[in-house]
């Protein structure tokens, strides 16, 4: 138990060290809600200035713990009792953030990454598009520049992240048959365009991809069917 500015990042986010990225995400959202507005819960114990301090600490913690690369480095330092003060600024390159950078990372932990699937998936799927290096290299921060998101690519990305289709269906509430058909590019067995676009967009967001780009790319293939 320490004053909040002496706490480690896990303590600041009020989570255990072994939590999933999803839990880090939840903890961050709750902390933001608690300390950034005019929450009924804080004003009588903390001043606005103190809330801002907490919030700054929360932001710092989130920045490091929400990416596997920086989080692993942080854990190492924590275990070794090293200084973690200037971790963000000098020792680790913090990946640039996109609109929803965390979502994909978050789900990694839910289903443990399976080596077999990782090796298996890219080999069996025939694609016209070369799989970008970033997707091939496990644990690297992904970049999808030049990738055209067709069904098979979406499936590879999903499997890379160790996410089952069931989980996607459960979380997005999209019928699993549609998801299967989207990935299998069974264009004639998909719902009406307006629904398809909405599903694609949800699915893309779930994977942490640029939803607009995914819809555009996918619909291009769809129209050529």
């Amino acid at each position: 138990m320490k004053k909040f500015n002496n706490q480690n990042y896990y303590e600041i986010l009020e989570v255990k060290q072994d939590v999933s990225y999803k839990e880090i995400e939840d903890a961050y959202k709750r902390a933001k809600e608690t300390y950034s507005g005019e929450s009924l819960a804080t004003y009588s114990l903390f001043t606005a200035e103190e809330c801002r301090e907490i919030l700054d600490a929360v932001e710092d913690a989130y920045k490091i713990l929400s990416f596997s690369k920086t989080r692993e480095e942080y854990n190492k330092r924590l275990a070794a009792g090293l200084s973690v003060e200037n971790l963000a600024s000098s020792h680790i390159e913090v990946p640039a953030k996109t609109v929803q950078p965390i979502v994909a990372e978050s789900w990694k932990e839910i289903v443990p990454e399976n080596k077999e699937t990782l090796q298996f998936a890219p080999a069996t799927i025939k694609t016209d598009v070369e799989i970008p290096k970033a997707v091939q290299t496990f644990k690297e921060i992904e970049s999808f520049e030049g990738v055209e998101f067709k069904g098979s690519i979406l499936r590879i990305i999903r499997e890379r992240r160790g996410i089952s289709l069931n989980l996607v269906a459960e979380k997005t509430k999209i019928n699993i048959n549609y998801l299967e058909n989207i990935e299998a590019e069974k264009y004639h067995q998909l719902p009406a365009e307006v629904f398809l676009k909405s599903y694609l967009s949800q699915y893309a967001r779930f994977l942490g991809l640029d939803a607009k780009k995914v819809v555009e790319d996918y619909m291009r293939f769809y129209e050529k069917r």
């Binding site: 138990m1 320490k2 909040f4």
Partner: protein, 320 residues
């Protein structure tokens, strides 16, 4: 909580049940309503439950249960008008559920000390219930605080309103400092604790967490002891009358704020939805859990009861 075997006149007296105390500072947050319905939830599982109205001066637990104003109350026992605690125990008409009503503010007047309160609690255990639920009523009197601290589970009921939350913090703060004060004899440290209760103290100590760090510097052993106490102290939090998802989230925010401010890790065990059915049941002086067993608030309460028993917290996926 277990008490040693004692003599209650019948030769029985060991208790291995649980004492739950329901408090929370402000009046009108639904403490009695929640106490009575938690009691019913527990009794439905076939366990014997004793409800005790420790809301002295504002006793109304009997109304929540639909029983008429009792002829005998806790005061009769304390004033020795009746020989046994069982003589003031009323049958509520609900299976496995009995009640001791408290109508007069005898405890307050007599300013009972800690030992006397412990003795009273021990007497309560002679009723042979598996659960004893104490409805503490509003305020932060020493009686309220001590009963809260003695209980196996302290439960704080808050409504999502500024005044209720402020009072809940005041209550937690009072309980917290009372607990710390009880474990030190060192007058110097007691004075520091008293001073820190005022936020504008000269020591510049703003939060209880800072207080403990400060005391650790002065006396490492006491500082350590405080830390252990804080760690062990895990009150349960219930948010009553929620109407929105935001109201539910206030529970998480209160939990976080208490952790950051006091270092106390509360258990957010659940919330009770606002519902017209509760109001209707209250008017009819019937417990809503019996009147509307399938209503959403009833389900909320069942989950809360389960969480307290299982030592669990509200989980995101169970939010209705």
């Amino acid at each position: 909580m277990s008490f040693e075997s004692g003599d209650n006149g019948n030769g029985k007296g060991s208790f291995n049940g649980q004492i739950w105390a329901i408090g929370g500072g402000k009046g009108g947050t639904g403490k009695s309503l929640i106490t009575s319905n938690l009691g019913i939830c527990l009794s439905k599982t076939g366990r014997d439950v004793l409800l005790v109205d420790a809301d002295l001066g504002g006793a109304n637990l009997h109304s929540c249960l639909g029983t008429s104003f009792p002829n005998v109350t806790l005061s009769d026992f304390i004033r020795k008008r009746v020989p046994s605690i069982k003589d003031v125990t009323i049958n509520t008409g609900i299976p496995h559920l009995s009640l001791i009503s408290g109508a007069e503010d005898y405890l307050e007047v007599a300013n009972t000390n800690y030992a006397q309160k412990m003795r009273l609690l021990k007497q309560l255990t002679y009723v042979e219930s598996e659960y004893i639920l104490l409805d503490l009523g509003a305020g932060t009197s020493f009686n309220t605080l001590d009963f809260f601290l003695i209980a196996d589970s302290g439960i704080i009921v808050v409504t999502p309103e500024p005044t209720s939350i402020e009072n809940a913090y005041r209550f937690i703060k009072s309980v917290f400092y009372r607990r710390l004060k009880r474990i030190v004899n060192n007058q110097g440290i007691r004075e520091i604790i008293a001073e820190v209760m005022d936020r504008k103290n000269e020591l510049g100590i703003k939060t209880p967490i800072e207080l403990i760090s400060h005391i650790e510097v002065i006396d490492k052993a006491i500082g350590q002891r405080f830390k252990e106490e804080v760690f062990k102290f895990k009150p349960n939090l219930i948010i009553n009358s929620v109407r929105t998802r935001g109201d539910i989230n206030i529970g998480f925010s209160i939990k976080s704020t208490c952790l950051k401010y006091f270092g106390i890790n509360m258990s957010y065990v659940g919330y009770v939805e606002y519902d017209e059915s509760i109001w209707q049941a209250v008017r009819r002086r019937r417990p809503f859990l019996l009147e509307y067993p399938n209503s959403r608030p009833a389900k909320c309460l069942e989950r809360i009861t389960k969480n307290i028993i299982m030592n669990k917290e509200l989980e995101e996926e169970f939010i209705l």
